[in-house]
Symmetry: C2
Subunit: 649 residues, 2 copies
């Protein structure tokens, strides 16, 4: 209910966009645009400010189009191979008269009085004359003045995007300088007390200004000229000064607020003092707090602080107006249809945008929603597409087939979807794959081992990384695969033995040496969720050591990832937890090895797909083994070995 209320006073996206266009049109944003004169040679990609007409004809003279002799065409009529006709050869200085000719090379000016060229292959030079064995029509083999472009003819229309061939045409037509539309100048102002400009200034509680770089690059991508300003502190006067100054020398101003609640109020207050706030809040998610204003006749946009929200609202409210102002063709994303691999919950009355991975699994195009936090930059880089969940939906069921807008020329046909237990070494597999097949992209989604098995069952993934221990047998993976994935063509291939261990603060202040220490009353443990491979391993090892879970303080506190365990230790919320070495390493924690576990890959490829063989080949290669083992905590001696092959009945 909270969420619904929050959107009550918001405009709908279409209303906001329409109002925005209308007001920008009214204030002249799309008209009487500034222009500049540039050299034609520098004009690639620029847009003509007005129609451009030829200053000279092309060709600018009547020229021979062949090597041969220039003649008066009717003098040649009747000439044939067996009945040659003889013409008198003249020198350049001699005036033309009937039955005469001149020697010409391709490109030479046609001598006065001639109107055709007999090509050299049809001419026999005899003393003082030329015998020709073929007749020519008037103007045959002659490039007539203006036959390509006539002086005063239109060469390029107004608002045309100049390509390399246009440059050739302009120059040929005698146009060496042209007027083009100036690129719109867009100021990008990062604001916020908690924002710093460089990594050096980073400490807990402050965050790096990445948005101003991202938004400036986006402005450039959309044809504008970004002007990235210094960070402005959260202070009404400072923000007002910065916006006012930017308005004087730019065509548009973007203010990027901090992420704190209520922070955008500064921007809103300042903008209503400087001009008119048209929109404050749009019923979209993420991106609700966007502000659209017109100040001093220019657009000013307040974008939310979270990167995903900032990018989405920039795409919705900046991209198209920037492109339209430049008279560039409207931005169009490629669209495909794909089936959702898991359900998406959504809020009624709010239009939601969800980034997805897209791939073709066993002939079916599938879209896997990425984590939806507005602050998750990784969802921006991992996304290959974006789907829109309409206002009228409470969500979309798994399996729903819906349109996906593809991002940055994504090629779903070349995407390999890896879904399951996440592992840094799996990403290295992606790197090696690309070295073999330049356009292949491995997309990794972290949903745990059982999630991976389910994805394979539904043909929603090519690869599932799993580490599932069978407590009965102490065996890994094969039993679960047989149980949950019967009747499918699948390969189970060994990937690595992976070290699991206890993560502790640097220098191990509580002197934890192994699982036995977990029973010490002063030690607090942080656990992984039921069903995770790591939890299964813990339970198995505790059983072997005859430790009962009730002896461990914190056993019942569960978190969902290796990193959450590590984070708990760093935060002092727990003294230790079980996880992979890489997580400990990433956060600078110490690591006490407990047990090796077996991490394998289920491969789900069509028989005609070459990628499976490449993957197995990579797993078995010494280079791959070397690189993965260098990460620490991995043993790849049997990588690539086929453990199990299941067949469709």
């Amino acid at each position: 209910m909270h969420k619904n209320k929050a959107y009550l006073n918001c405009l709908q996206r279409e209303q906001a966009q329409e109002l925005w266009y209308q007001k920008l049109t009214e204030c002249g944003f799309f008209k009487n645009l500034p222009r500049e004169t540039i050299l034609v040679g520098d004009a690639r990609g620029r847009v003509t400010a007005s129609s451009i007409y030829a200053k000279q004809s092309v060709p600018h003279y009547n020229g021979a189009a062949m090597d041969g002799i220039a003649v008066w065409a009717s003098d040649t009529f009747g000439a044939q191979e067996n009945e040659p006709k003889r013409l008198t050869l003249l020198t350049e200085e001699q005036t033309f008269s009937s039955d005469c000719c001149y020697v010409v090379d391709t490109g030479d000016l046609m001598p006065l009085g001639t109107n055709a060229v007999v090509m050299v292959e049809d001419v026999y030079f005899v003393d003082g004359g030329a015998e020709i064995i073929a007749a020519v029509a008037p103007w045959q083999h002659v490039r007539i003045i203006g036959e390509d472009i006539v002086a005063n003819e239109l060469v390029l229309p107004e608002h045309h995007v100049i390509s390399p061939v246009d440059i050739a045409a302009l120059l040929a037509a005698g146009v060496e300088e042209i007027e083009v539309l100036s690129k719109p100048k867009v100021a990008v102002i990062p604001t916020g007390d908690e924002i710093v400009a460089t990594c050096k200034e980073l400490k807990p509680g402050v965050i790096l200004d990445v948005n101003s770089h991202m938004l400036s690059a986006a402005v450039a991508e959309w044809g504008g000229e970004p002007v990235r300003m210094n960070i402005v502190k959260d202070n009404i006067h400072g923000i007002k000064r910065a916006i006012f100054a930017s308005l004087q020398v730019n065509d548009m101003v973007i203010v990027n607020a901090g992420t704190s609640a209520g922070r955008e109020d500064y921007t809103s207050t300042v903008l209503s003092e400087l001009g008119e706030v048209l929109v404050h809040g749009v019923a979209i998610k993420p991106g609700k707090p966007v502000i659209l204003a017109i100040c001093q006749g220019k657009p000013v946009i307040g974008l939310p602080g979270y990167p995903v929200s900032a990018m989405l609202t920039a795409e919705l409210f900046i991209r198209n107006v920037l492109v339209a102002r430049q008279k560039l063709p409207p931005y169009e994303e490629d669209k495909i249809e794909a089936a959702l691999v898991k359900q998406i919950a959504s809020t009624l009355g709010v239009e939601e945008y969800v980034r997805v991975s897209v791939g073709n699994v066993q002939g079916k195009m599938v879209a896997a929603p990425l984590s939806r936090g507005a602050g998750l930059i990784s969802s921006l880089t991992k996304a290959q597409g974006i789907i829109r969940v309409g206002r009228g939906n409470l969500g979309l069921a798994a399996g729903t087939v819906l349109p996906v807008n593809l991002l940055h020329k994504a090629k779903p046909a070349n995407t390999i979807l890896a879904v399951g237990s996440h592992d840094l070494a799996l990403e290295l597999l992606g790197v090696f794959l690309r070295r073999r097949r330049e356009n292949v992209y491995l997309s990794c989604a972290n949903v745990g081992s059982m999630g991976g098995i389910m994805a394979i069952a539904n043909n929603e993934a090519h690869i599932a990384g799993i580490h599932l221990l069978d407590e009965e047998t102490g065996q890994y993976n094969k039993a679960q695969m047989e149980k949950y994935l019967p009747n499918k063509n699948l390969h189970l291939v060994h990937f690595a033995m992976r070290q699991q261990g206890l993560m502790v603060l640097p220098n191990n202040p509580k002197e934890i040496e192994g699982l036995k220490d977990l029973t010490r009353p002063e030690i607090t443990y942080i656990n992984r969720q039921r069903g995770s491979g790591t939890r299964m391993l813990l339970d198995y090892e505790l059983k072997k050591s005859t430790i009962h879970s009730s002896q461990i303080r914190g056993y019942e506190k569960e978190v969902g990832t290796h990193m959450a365990v590590a984070a708990s230790v760093i935060a002092g919320a727990a003294d230790t937890g079980l996880g992979v070495q890489a997580a400990a390493h990433a956060l600078g924690l110490d690591f006490i090895p407990v047990s090796q576990e077996q991490y394998d890959l289920i491969l789900n490829f069509s028989t005609d797909d070459e990628h499976m063989n490449i993957i197995i080949d990579i797993l078995q290669s010494p280079e791959f083994r070397y690189e993965v083992e260098s990460l620490g905590g991995y043993d790849l001696r049997d990588a690539g070995k086929l453990i199990h092959f299941s067949k469709e009945n």
Copy 2:
């Protein structure tokens, strides 16, 4: 037969491309590429030289994701709206203990010992404490360290094209500088005695260097860094010096030969002295003389001199290798299917490339071949697509449906095809159309009035400009339209009264005052072809003046365009000819008005096509009338008037 022989020793295009790739691969053109370190903020569109891993986790600390109070999650269990739980508020300096909490804002570091945030909406502050009305799970409303990106995790793979969101991810992951592939440096060397660098140096017999600008822009378009060199004269030593010098500092060298026959031999000779010539001549048209060589381990390409040939061979032999070297996705043109509007003759054994206009006429996608001269720059700018006529074809019949590669994001759906008698004022109509509909493009093909009528009959054009006089009645256009285009939904709309007259040399040296002077024995006339509107007008006017064609010297000499008439006069091949004022004006000839003719438009649009009404509206507008009449020789007082409407039975 000549043509066939010329291609006998040529490689086929696919063979040449394959050999070229293979040799470039062997000489390492695609490997161990030069790289450079740049700031991440400047990296948009660049390509990563190697995989990039996170230097820090994102977030880099456990931070509050909401404004509220930081708590130990299990202390909140059981709290409800009607059963609030009370916690003690601590200040920053106080150490955490059970049932305590701290006030936090979004983004604040989580105090040591806390692992969740209760959002402010669920908190009632009472003196010294906080009453909470909702429980939270561990790490709820907390951004856990590394939940977005984990230190050491892959951020971008090797050979990835960097987008704005990638810039955000890199910076957030602590990566402020990266190694990217250097852009390949490509020298472009124009050669030829007849080539000049500027319009000022232009005179008959020399031509402007437009290719080096076009090719440099193309190199830039394909991601390379062009280095345009000065023009080199046709001199073996000079050319060799220029190529040798360019090889030292560039990754690729393009030599653009002059257009004269045999000129490319210089390049070929030099290249075989400097390295190995792999290919000299490919069985394609245009573009046959292309030379592919490897000198000092680097590719050197000799491109033919005609602009259309140069561009085509650059697209075939430079674009893809440049793109592949940069690890950019292979260049792909959009393809559509369209029906040829007229037949294309072709040479057996030669692969021909023909540029076309493309448009949707009455629901049928049609492709209209443009003039095919290799020297016709205008065919490059007017083309919206390119079709390939295979080696096995002697040509393609009109109506053949075949694939068309679309050029520069052409949008056939927005193209209006005007086919018929050409007129400068028609191009102005295109300019005005664009002002009303930004993405509409008017493509004009000059095939004469009867050609236009035939194109309309076959639904191959939207507009036909015609000026056809009925000798019986002295009436224009309507009779012909009724005769040749029965049973079709068409509008005949008046465009302009157009002045036809006699073109003569400046200052009219032979003192020609009108048609009566054509009978003077010392006057030579140049005629237009039978069936052209201008020829019909002449014959009609001669009849009125009771002049017989036999009285006119040159009456039987025909050329095909207004410009060819003007060119004949300039060249001294004739003293005068009938044509429109604009042609005379373009070439600086004097003009003696003879008669006004009626130029009308047949409009062939689907009923749901809005363009017809826009066109009529433009024709009737005072702005359009003003601009067209300013061209001279036009009267638009009745423009836009509906003359005739024919209906399908």
